[in-house]
Amino acid sequence: PSGRNPPAAFRESLNRHRYLNSVFPGENSTAVYGINQFSYLFPEEFKAIYLRSRPSSFPRFLADAHTSISNVS
């Protein structure tokens, strides 16, 4: 997929990857970021297409109010 200005979006992606990979470089097994099928989209374009789930508020899980799940047969 590509948006309104793929070359500019791609350049911005490269800069973003450099930053994301630079902050915790030596950390064991930490995530790696780079070029993929979404690199030709600006973040707002990516979000508008792929991040369309709406948040809901959920009750807090109260372990002691439940038979601890591990005891459920």
């Binding site: 997929p1 992606s13 973003r16 990857h17 994301l20 902050v23 915790f24 950390e27 064991n28 097994s29 930490t30 995530a31 790696v32 970021y33 780079g34 993929n36 099928q37 979404f38 690199s39 989209l41 973040p43 990516f46 979000k47 297409i49 792929y50 991040l51 369309r52 789930s53 709406r54 948040p55 809901s56 508020s57 959920f58 009750p59 807090r60 899980f61 372990a63 601890s68 799940i69 591990s70 459920v72």
Partner: protein
């Protein structure tokens, strides 16, 4: 609980799918949870219709967005029978809801649970182990650039915007992580999946957690 557990290894999780440019992650995740719950109960593992949920879940907006909780509520309240994907295939756009006779075979749910497991991700792991894959809604803005490894930074628990299915966890290494199945095809991430650090509610993964009962 074992140190490592993944429902995928039990062959009760259908293959990674691709939502293409349809904003229907919420539907893919709910259908994925129902497919696994049925398979865990001993029924054959088979792909069910995401398009049916996109077209018919009245309290959602199809490819323009939706919430897993609304879809679960619709499935449960209407006792909808999900038909096989082969009968109502995905077409990556909204369509008119197709209805089937009561005698038509399908898969319905008996209920669902929905909790915030923040600061209780061990309880969340127990829930996964006991109930099956979990539907979660995360903040996936930084997933645009993800290639692999364990996400443990740059992933705020800000506004939840993407629904995915947690199929397992792995606590054998120095950084424990959730194993998460996405719906962006197998060329994204780790064969379509992503690893998110356990503990600390990374990406908001523990805030909006649902499971289905069949």
């Amino acid at each position: 609980l074992p140190l490592r557990f993944d429902w995928t290894d039990k062959h009760v999780v259908t293959p990674v799918r691709n939502q293409q440019t349809c904003g229907g992650c919420w539907a893919f995740t709910v259908v994925g949870a129902v497919e696994s719950a049925c398979a865990i109960k001993g029924q054959p593992l088979e792909a069910l219709s995401v398009q049916q949920v996109i077209d018919c879940s009245y309290s959602n907006y199809g490819c323009n967005g939706g919430s897993p909780l609304n879809a679960l509520n619709w499935l449960n309240k209407m006792q909808v029978k999900l038909v096989r994907d082969s009968e109502y295939p995905f077409k990556a756009q909204n369509g008119l809801c197709r209805y089937f006779s009561d005698s038509h075979s399908g898969f319905s749910i008996k209920g669902y649970s929905a909790y915030d497991f923040r600061d209780q991700e061990d309880e969340m792991a127990k829930a996964l182990f006991t109930l099956g894959p979990l539907i979660v809604v995360v903040d996936a803005v930084s997933w645009q650039d993800y290639l692999g490894g364990i996400i443990q930074h740059h992933c705020s628990s800000g506004e939840a915007n993407h629904a995915v299915l947690v199929t397992g966890f792995d606590k054998t290494g120095s950084t424990p992580y959730w194993i998460v199945r996405n719906s962006w095809g197998t060329s994204w991430g780790i064969d379509g999946c992503v690893h998110v650090k356990m503990g600390g509610n990374i990406c908001g993964i523990a805030e909006s957690v649902s499971a289905v009962f069949v």
